[in-house]
Amino acid sequence: MSTRVHPELHRDIARFGGDDITKCMNCGNCTAVCSLAGDGAVFPRKTIRYMQLGLKDKLLASPEPWLCYYCGECSDTCPRDANPAETMMAMRRWLTAEYDHSGRGRRLYTSEKAVVTTILKAAFIPLALLLALHAVTGFQRIVTDRVELNTFAPVMWVWAVVLLHFAFLGYHLMMNALHMIQHIMKPEDPEAKVPWAAYLLELKSLAIHFITQKRWRECGEEHDGQWLTHLLLVSGYVIMLVLVVGMLGWFQTDNIYPVYHPQRWLGYYATLVLIYASAAMLIGRFRKRTQVHRFSRPTDWLFPSFILVGAITGILVHAFRYAGWPWPTYGMYLIHVMAMVAMLDSEVGIGKWAHMIYRPLAIYLMNVKKRTQNQAVPEAGALPTN
């Protein structure tokens, strides 16, 4: 049975950034130079080859793009200057869009206009809700002689909306992840049958990789700095998420906690880390010195920019509240919330959340498959291979 080629596909993928897909002459340098390629997962050339030929099924079924951390070695040494690393990045964007059946990911990646409208739409929601609240209450809840944030934006209401929003985003994310699992594991294919036990037994690796992204370190020592920055960013991000989403009722308060209170120093830590990491990312993209930063799409700027805006506006809210300036506090709060909602809304399909999920998931699924194969092979009477 021969596989039909679809040369139009790579032109479609090129809309996600892979301008150089056909520049590749399939010499295999990129795969051989990659320290992560091997052990059953070979990339980038395999992925690039499938892209060139438009073998969409094979692309959707491949976890390899998620195993690449964009160290840039392949692009540095590519004899054709075909940028395999960026092509892999484009592949991840395309896959993200493909997993997202709402079509929202595709729109965001391929249209700058869509990015702007999505951000504006999302930012409009808190504004509208707050306006509605104050309109209903006759603008009585705006205390101007002192700072009363919880009167201006009642925390329990806000919390409820945030949780709802998160439920919506979480559902979305889970669905996308499920699509990814379906593409890779092909549950409908009787030959690819995987026992449930395998899924269960590998859950530990999912957790480890989710938290540490430790495979990144295999890229080589020179990339440890990037990994560490990323780990810090994630820690700050997760802390903030827990503080805001999980404990907003305690976080958004008009009581000023003493300095030793965990909420304060955790908040400070997270803010600092977020500012540092996001600024570093933005400066890197600006300078384009390393491979990973040489090519950036509008969507790549979104996440660090929003983090930076969020952190800075967060600090300002905090500061204005200390200073006892009601209007600046309320205004900054609104901006902060609008930015954060816009960020979450636009990035769930295309940004860091997706990466955080898809990468460990890909490793997990690879491990599940490997476990299944290792069990299956001895039964077939053959020698175990590795």
């Binding site: 295999g28 795969t31 051989a32 390629a37 070979v42 540095d76 054709r80």
Partner: protein, 441 residues
Amino acid sequence: MHHDKIDTDALVIGGGIAGLQAALDLADQGFRVLIVEKQPSIGGKMIGLSKVFPTLDCCSCICTPRMAEAEHHPNIAIMTYTEVRHVRREGDRFIADLVKKPRYVDEDKCTGCRLCEYACNTELPHEFEGDLGVRKAIYVPFSNAVPQVALLDLENCILCGRCEKVCPVGAIDFLQQPQETVVRAGTVVVATGYETIRTDFKKEYGQGRLPNVLGALQVERLLAPHGPYGRVLRPSDGKVPDSIAYVQCAGSRDRSAGVSYCSRVCCMYAIKQAMLLCGTLPLADITIYYMDIRAFGKGFEQFYQNAKAMGIEFVKAKVASITEDQQQNPIVRIEVIEEDGRVEQRQHDMAVLSLGLVPGWDPREVGLAAPAPDGFIRCTQPMIAPCRTPDEGVFVAGCAAGPKDIPDSIIEAGAAAMEAAAYLHEHTHVAGKETTTTCMK
């Protein structure tokens, strides 16, 4: 012997096979030719090769007669160890300033007996042997050098004076000075050849520091009838290699190495060396890692198929990196493209880099037109008159205009000679023709 002023019909810059052939083709038409060679001997890169593809002729045997023919040709004068400083036009003539570097040995007196070489105690890596062998501070460049005249490497000489004492003809002259010569010529043929890319061009290939990773020209010397070791063995420990890897496109077709073009000869010389190694080391396994095998010339494809039939393994893969293990065995990392695309690290006893060819000379240094973007001499009419350059009356032959194998260089040298001859006819009213010297072949 050489006066300060020389008048000639054609000035040939470079005494490699292309320069010699162009000079001979002009001289046979009755023109007077001056060959200027910067090395101490003519013969260029070809004289250092072992055998030639695809005929497997002895390279020295086909190169030395050409060298001798040029040396004895009544219409040809040769200046070795001489550099061209500047070339300019003056009406219909070219004026070239040459500087003959001091050999510290009187060329006319020296008989090439090598007594000085035997007396000298200073040992240095031998450039002609690809630094694998040893030479003295005073030495005849190589056994069939033309002229057979010694050369003193003053930089590394300890001035002990032994050579001076043993020289039977009193040829050693520590006080020799550079000698300037002005040449008037009707036309110029540039045949400045090529260099191989430096072995440290790619950090993934060990930056030239792995002892058992050799350049292809070094292997030519290992395979030559009296090479540095007298046989094929690897430099680090003298072991006879059982498994040899050829890394193709090392410094060719690789933008990351700064060379995007194909060096044209590496596929064939690698196959040739592999075949010769098969003959010398019948038990050795030889693997050639290639991107495309470019066996395009007359008899090349058949040669390639023969090599396959002999059991030389051809693996389609671009070698991504070379490292070494504790025994200094090179390890190449490749993707096995033709199978499942897995990554393999293969250990060999020796690895040979099929080094790409890069320009050996920048024409701007002497005031000629800038080279093409690839660094080689620019050809203005590559299709119909491939030897013409932007400087009218200056023609190019051989690898100076891009990588080329020996027959293509020789053909192009003939073409350059033809262009130069026609140019002389049309521009200098055949000055040389009237004084045609009868030549005895």
